[in-house]
Amino acid sequence: MIISVASGKGGTGKTLISTSLARLWADGNKAVTYVDADAEEPNGHLFLKPDVIDEKRFTVKIPTLEGRTCAAHGKCQEICEFNAILSAKGSVIVFDELCHGCGACVLACPEGFLKETEREIGTIMHGDSNGLEFYSATLDVGEARVTPLISGVVEASTENVDGDRLVVIDAPPGTSCSAMAAVEVADLVLLVTEPTPFGEHDLILALEMGKALGRKMAAVINRSDIGSDGTRALLEARSIPVLAEIPFDRAVAESYAVSRMPMEDSPKFANSIVKLAQGLVSLTEGVSP
């Protein structure tokens, strides 16, 4: 069972809710994997404080001539949609940050001289947090393309998942291809939203993303007592179940600020998470293999 925790808007509480859910289930002796797929700004480790089992550098493919001199047909440059390779005077210049690693240039090279080499863009960490399996991805500062790394950590963490394991993927904000990479494997998408016009506006986009993928969706409304009612009306109109509403609680904010698990400091918040977890389990019983 794979649950992706997503939102259109940033800062709605994805990490707060996904780390809390994972901790709750793991402490209840369920097999749980938490995956931090927000590779630009990963924060899950601050709360789950995992012991590192292993760390691997993650690479993408980029073309190279391996020092050979080519006839400079220019086919590689011609085929590249991303302006990432220039053909000049028997050699090529590759712009690493622009390259999508699609391999079109390699296929297009008439001499078959272009090969591919690996380029590091980030790190994938596998760890353990008191019996909870932990994965995270961290993009190197200065790198532009995060999507391959997110797909990488999702693949690494979900390849050998059996039916009973609960996988909670903490997705990046937004609805572009990087968010899609964290959501497309999910059996269920849990949308974290807030009752403000911003939350509502971005929720519409997130709902479209879930719909485009054909995924089952549910929602949780964070800071539910501050703001407006448009978000609730929208969810009701789209028949998306609201599994829990979490009122604003200064104790949660203060606990979260210093990397504690807010469930330990706010019984009210802990209750909301229990309710959310129950709602998710009953929803997913029809989905699970």
Partner: protein
């Protein structure tokens, strides 16, 4: 013309509401650009009316000539995005996965794959009470956010120049990847909005690393600082040590989300207004110094 971009690393720290507040606090007309094209919210706070709405084309999508395709599967083998599986002896394109890279067309023996322009989003020009504003809306699952951000910035600057406006403020996207690079490149000052939490501090460090990487001047404002004065002080110490600048603290007030719910700029809360006025004053001073 001077350019400021408001960023954060972490989402939801207050970039958009601060950008709107700065627009109102600036003396004289300014040009605004919303570079968070993935979840564009600045227009909700700035009101006004769009006077331009145009499609934004970027990238391509594969199209298969069904009469010529033999279902040989060479394209499926070449595609690294699993975007062109052969179904019932026919190559069929999944637009959500296709990157338009043309690898499939290189290997297609029937030469039956062509490419059409992809509508990646929409671009808007708007008139607001503080001056012109440019914003964009990226389509779902699109890969061209950096290009749309670059277009938002270019149009904002163009309109500013036409109208002799000498300050542009950009609302940045969260994160530290491609769209953030496009929003930051070559600006005069990066204003990072953070919050006093371990996540806020962690993400701010990566944002300051990025500013160093691009050799950009930065300033940091701590929002909701009184939720943890101790963490705020730690953040300010770190900022100073790194040679960046602190430009104020803004207090937490439940009135802020309530104001936002009414689509009002948080300047309607007096203590928040005072703090933001001080912050803006410091930002202007930093800008003048960089002149």
């Amino acid at each position: 013309m001077k350019e400021i971009v408001v960023v954060s690393g972490k989402g939801g720290t207050g970039k958009t509401s601060f950008t709107a507040a700065f627009a109102h606090l600036a003396k004289g007309p300014i040009a605004l650009g919303d570079c968070d094209v993935d979840a564009a919210n600045l227009a909700l706070l700035m009101h006004g009316e769009d006077f331009v709405e145009e499609p934004f084309l970027a990238g391509k999508r594969a199209r298969v000539d069904e009469n010529k395709c033999t279902g040989c599967g060479e394209c499926e083998n070449a595609c690294r995005y699993e975007a062109i599986p052969v179904i019932d002896n026919l190559a069929s394109v999944n637009d959500l996965l296709c990157e338009g890279c043309r690898a499939c067309s290189v290997v297609c023996p029937e030469d039956c794959i062509t490419f059409m322009n992809n509508r990646a989003g929409t671009l808007f020009h708007r008139e607001t009470s503080t001056g012109p504003m440019v914003h964009g809306a990226l389509g779902i699952a699109q890969d061209n956010s950096g290009k749309l951000v670059a277009k938002v910035r270019a149009d904002t600057k163009l309109i500013a120049m036409e109208r002799n406006i000498d300050l542009a403020i950009f609302d940045g996207p969260p994160g530290i990847g491609c769209p953030v690079h496009a929003a930051m490149g070559g600006v005069d000052l990066v204003v990072a909005v953070t919050e006093p939490s371990s996540s806020g501090a962690h993400d701010l460090k990566r944002m300051l690393d990025l500013c160093d990487h691009f050799n950009l001047e930065s300033a940091v404002v701590v929002n909701k600082y009184d939720l943890s004065v101790a963490v705020t002080e730690e953040i300010e110490k770190m900022v100073k040590k790194r040679g960046s600048h602190t430009v104020g603290r803004v207090p937490f007030d439940e009135g802020v989300p309530r104001a936002l719910a009414r689509m009002e700029v948080p300047l309607v809360i007096p203590k928040v207004k005072t703090a933001l006025e001080n912050t803006w004053g410091d930002i202007v001073q930093l800008l003048e110094r960089s002149a």
